[in-house]
Amino acid sequence: MSCHDDSSSAATLAGMRRIALLGNPNAGKSTLFNALSGLNAKVANYPGVTVSKTIGSLKVAGHNLLLEDLPGCYSLEAISPDEQVVADTLDIGSVDRPDGLLVVMDATSLERSLGLLAQAQQLGLPIMAVLTFSDELLRRSGSLDPVRLASAVGVPVMSVTQGNRVQLDELKHALTKLDNWSVPVIPPPADDGPHLRSWIASVLDAAGYQPPADDQRTQRIDSILLHPVVGTVIFILTMIVFFQVIFIVAAPLQDAIETFFGWLAGLVRAKIGIDWLAALIADGVIGGAGSVLVFLPQIGLLFAMIALLESTGYMSRVAFLMDRVMGYIGLEGRAFVAMLSSLACAVPGIMSTRTLPSSRDRIATMMTAPLMTCSARLPVYTILIAMLVPQDARVGFLGLQGLVMFGMYLLGAAGTMAAAWVFKRLLGGKGPALPFYMEMPSYRLPKLGEIVRAIWEACAGFVRRVGGIILVLSMAMWALLSLPLISSEQMVSAGVDVADEVAVATYQIDHSAAAAVGKAVQPVFEPLGFDWRITVGLIGAMGAREVFVATLGQISSAEDPENPGVDLGQMVWLSGPHEGEPLFTAPATVALLVYFAFALQCTSTIAILRKESGSWKWPLIAFGYMTALAWITAFIAKLVVGAVIG
């Protein structure tokens, strides 16, 4: 995500020639771009993964060139946001119009690539064609003569296979000579179907093109993975394994991180003599960061699995299998992939909606993807479920805690589906009917480097979040909970036993700035069974859900500083009509779970919604409807659980 530069600022770099890469989705365009520029744009085997304009630079033989990786497209007649980017950039009036165009053509589907080349040749730009996957063409016993192809199409043609340094260097040098690129005497026809077909046929014939034989390996795998019965069973098993790995494999790593931060906080408390400073660093900084960083293993694993599914080509099969289900709510298979990515984080999920050709589908998916159970909800769910369900409770051989967690994932998915259905209806009306089409990529062995890069980017992004917004928020919450400082004399005069640390801490927190804010807002959440301390947690969590855990940790350790791991379940109402009653009753805990399931508490999601939709309208609608949905469903959940328990 970090590599998607803002193209308009890069474009203003004076004196540099711009060359854009154009090609079908999956034609190897991003791979070529990375090889040329050395800049790591994300590469995956899912069609349309290049969803953003990506800029890189190249220095060769004293020439500086700007490279732009355009989104993959099948036609310059734009019908999706991705294609609109391409058409806008290449338009004659465009400020970003490149000086030259590299048309990337997959040698295994040359016919279709030639259609796009013909359209590109109408643009009046210097053009060079790059043939990719020539090795794959040979492997599947096809053949092609690039020299004869070049004379047939009238533009230079270079063949570049992945990992071939010599071919890549030749291409780099050819890029600097774009003024000398050959131009056809008569450009190919692009305004008429039948004429274009005969042009393509004559080019293929002149180039001695033998189309590749069918990919036997992919067909054999597909006959199993897409079998009506076997394929469905494998899909369900894949989804189960997907989640099991995230929870089971991550557990020991998480324990290690928890132990480390506990040790670090203990060290700080022992070494720093000044009480308030020790508390700030141990509770505010280390406690706050540690309670969030503990989820690093889960996030890394989640992104590793998604990268694995994408780079093998199975993710496209998932879209094939799930398209009909998504069709029921008016969406398509690719929306399912966006929803699945949202299980990691709504931000990449929302970004991946750019592969959806229909803008209505795109809005409906974007607006509802944040309801999917993202990894930021995990810390909150883990703590709340532990309070709700004893660890050893079982149903058959399955742990009840795990089942409740699974239920929360189902709740999120069901909420997403229902909301998407509503949005599609509301956005209805007669717009352009966009077709659903998707190319099935061949199965490829996953590249370790790509998966490692996906894990690294996800973890680095998460750590930046922890270092930025989450740490700032959790320190601000700590300060609000600790200030103003109350002297012993004031406590004595208020009748507090200063020898009782718990009583002192309780008095301190009850008279803190956070308490004032929490108590002012608390009436809003009173019907859900939340006291002012939970309200303070919810306010802190508006920026990022994980902050809730850090805030609760600070509140509970303030009540019992000798035992920071104290069970939150022992907290009671401090005042009001419920004074002395347990705070985290089953109805209140369930209400809190449901509230977190549906509320939009994430500044990153709001920011990406603003960026992707182009206005503040959609993020505001999302925030409004999700908050209302969260409050109402939490209220209903509290009443229902209350009635069931009696």
Partner: protein, 114 residues
């Protein structure tokens, strides 16, 4: 850097005014087939091969032009590979690639079975 979505809600006509190349391409004609010995592509049997005869006459030809750009052009050989377990979408082999279409779109394309 996607185009603002607001613009896309305006529909086809305005979209085409945005860029000259897109406007030019939206005037293309693709082969209409009115012959009676053809069947809609979505009605092919699993594993069956055929040759594309053209597109059925529709008010909205933008979809047909896109199907054409995807390679579903008159005279091209096509094979119906499989159906998803829930009946839709359908997978076709066109040229050397495999393409998913829903029955609704596939039925815009008419094929002649060998």
């Amino acid at each position: 850097m996607a185009a603002p979505l607001e613009r896309q809600f305006l529909g086809d006509a305005n979209l085409n005014d945005v860029t000259t190349i897109a406007a030019q391409l939206s005037k293309r004609s693709v082969g209409i087939c009115a012959e009676s010995d053809c069947i809609p592509m979505g009605r092919m049997r699993c594993g069956e091969c055929g040759v594309i005869a053209g597109f059925s006459e529709q008010t909205d030809m933008a979809v047909s032009r896109r199907l054409f750009d995807l390679g579903f052009a008159e005279g091209t050989q096509v094979q119906f590979v499989r159906r998803a377990p829930l009946r839709d979408p359908l997978m076709f082999r066109i040229g050397s690639s495999q393409m998913l279409l829903r029955a609704e779109e596939a039925n815009r394309i008419l094929v002649r079975i060998d």
